[in-house]
């Protein structure tokens, strides 16, 4: 019989060890799956890495994938810090993209720096606007923001579809529902082979790190997340802080939308969000909401996605099989977070005592 026992304290070394075991175990299990498909696990794994980092082009593609993930994870992580479950990253990205696109389509002849700054501001405003509704509902009526933010994703998506098929449809596209490509001034310039979104993302990592740890507002957010009554006692205006933080969270997600339309797609399309809003939830949690860790995890996550796509064509395996591989790896890595906090005992036997390891962490 197996029991799970909560650990009284978690040491750093222990946590690292469990996570390393998990990665090892996930690779081993996935290897069995690969063998069952009649392929060589070593080859598949090296192709996975090769597909994500194998040459400069792939590195730049992986980074391009990581950028929206990173920005969005930072955005929703901010709300998570306050125990506000912003599942609406997807919708906020879409709204940010829509707002930014408005200026790209309507004022394409502004000087590039001006137009890009305008689009940046518009993207953030769009994301914030989309976060305003759940924030206000939660602060005012204590509604469940998980549901409100989730449902607003679909609304945002359909607004985008409407624009694409209606008012913003490109007349030159032979009837195809497509929005016109942006003019050159609305496109983020490339720096070192990748659009400048990576600079925005890195700046954001630094700013948010300092914001959360060294500013009064960041401090208040942490207090609210931990205990609303304590925050009340400290004289924090909780309603105002919730609304402003969620707006900021939405604005950052909207920024991701702007970066995607301006840097990657160079137009607005329904595929712009590409599930980033949902993937970012996992990234945020895996990173324990810490900005520098989010940076690392989003790159690794993007690599997993890119590598996973690469092995599909490399070995001609169906998409479903590649998805299973990715899911197996994720399953173990997420499972490890559970085992960092809990200890398994078999009937009457403390597994770790027997193995002689991890005793200090019981």
């Amino acid at each position: 019989m197996i029991h799970f026992v909560r650990r009284k304290e978690v040491t750093h070394g222990h946590a690292v060890r469990v996570r390393l075991y998990a990665v090892g175990l996930s690779l081993a299990t996935a290897a069995i799956f690969i063998l069952l498909m009649g392929l060589d696990p070593v080859k598949v794994y090296s192709a996975l890495v090769d597909g994500a980092f194998g040459n400069e082009y792939r590195v730049s593609e992986t980074i391009k994938k990581a950028i929206p993930l990173l920005i969005t994870s930072l955005g929703i992580g901010l709300a998570f810090r306050m125990q506000f479950w912003n599942i609406g990253g997807e919708g906020q990205i879409a709204m940010g993209a829509i707002f930014a696109t408005f200026f790209a389509l309507n004022t394409p002849d502004l000087p590039q720096p001006l137009l890009l700054i305008l689009m940046l501001a518009a993207g953030m405003a769009g994301g914030a606007f989309w976060a305003l509704v759940p924030a206000w509902l939660r602060a005012r009526w204590k509604t469940n923001e998980t549901i409100v933010t989730l449902l607003l994703n679909y609304v945002a998506f359909n607004v985008l579809i409407f624009l694409q098929q209606g008012p913003w449809k490109d007349p030159a596209a032979h009837g195809f529902p497509k929005i016109a490509n942006f003019g050159p001034n609305a496109v983020l310039p490339e720096v070192f082979g990748v659009h400048a979104g990576w600079i925005i993302a890195l700046i954001l990592v630094g700013v948010l790190y300092i914001f959360m740890r060294h500013t009064r507002t960041g401090y208040e957010i942490s207090v609210i997340g931990e205990s609303e009554r304590t925050a009340l006692y400290a004289g924090i205006n909780i309603r105002r802080r919730i609304i402003s933080t969620v707006l900021l969270s939405g604005a950052i997600c909207g920024l991701a939308g702007m970066v995607q339309v301006s840097g990657v797609a160079k137009t607005l399309m329904p595929q712009i969000t590409a599930n980033v809003g949902y993937t970012a939830i996992i990234v945020s949690w895996l990173s324990m909401l810490s900005a520098p860790v989010i940076l690392v995890v989003s790159i690794l996550f993007a690599a997993l996605l890119e590598g996973g796509a690469f092995i599909q064509t490399a070995f001609n395996i169906p998409e479903a099989a590649a998805n299973i591989l990715q899911a197996l790896i994720l399953f173990f890595v997420l499972g490890a977070e559970f085992l960092v906090r809990y200890r398994i005992t078999l009937k009457g036997v403390d597994v770790e005592s027997v193995s002689g390891k991890g005793k200090e962490a019981v």
Partner: protein
Amino acid sequence: MQRVLAVMVAIAFVLGLTAVGCSKSGAKSDKIKVGFVYIGPIGDGGWTYAHDEGRRFLEKEAGVETKYKENVPESPAAEKVMEDMISQGCNVIIGTSFGYMDYMENVAKRHPDVTFLHCAGYKTGKNMGTFFGRIYQARYLSGIVAGMKTKAGKIGYVAAYEIPEVVRGINAFTLGVRSVNPKAVVKVKWTHTWYDPAKEKDAAKALLDEGVDVIAQHQDTAGPQQAAEERNVWSIGYNTDMNSKAPKAYMTAPIWNWGPYYVRQIKAVKDGSWKSESYWGGMNDDIVRLAPLTANAPEGAKDAVDKVTKEILTGAQKVFQGPLKDQTGAVKVKDGEMMSDGDMLKFDWFVEGVEGKIK
């Protein structure tokens, strides 16, 4: 610890970027390897399935190696997929959806030594050709079957988008219907999706509620077929033989037969005779067909279809030949005149007998 890690990654990030954009993948072999970029899953039983049948036919007939990737979005992600395939040794890339056009054009410019074939688009380049089939011919034939079958004189048509390709199909189908049943009308419902079984099925149901007794479709799923099956009426499929999806309703379908075209193209690439072109083949090239009629089809339909098929093959029946009237009854193509390919590719009006609107 966290901080150190973050700094390390940031450095790696920047170093990685500085190196980007300098080199390109090199190793090429003389062997032909073809990469297929699919919009949907192979198991869709429709558009992608038809292309994958073509791919398997190609492997068998031309003896070349192929690769494929399913569910590739019509976004810049498609570029990465093509690049991956090229770096894995592909020297022919086939993209099977309109939305890949711009991305394929980008990749084609970067890889002049690779041949690109794009389905359903209009952009070509030195190493990028476009191809499509005159499916409207088969749709005309399917219209004959539907026109003979309908008792209500009303036929429903579930359609994806208001693009020339779809409009052309509806018009051809309607002309086929009216050739045997001059008073029948074709009601159109737009779904604004290519691949959404539930939505397409709902659209078919809405049409059935309006009293139609045959359902036709320009969609990539069998949703409309199932709606017809449930209501005990009749249906015309699309893309592939959909008999198994709605055995009691399905009569026939205009279907794709990409295999022979692929084989011809790859052979041309092999012997160096390939040239970029905008290919638009019809039943003469066997790229489109009408699927075999089932027992659900009306009596005499087979003979009628066979007769018109012969006319199409000989060129006696062009489908879009005058006189053609639009919905208002105004003559758009005079008697004795033909519609040019250019006009057909820009189709933005419905022929008489269609009930529906193009936005």
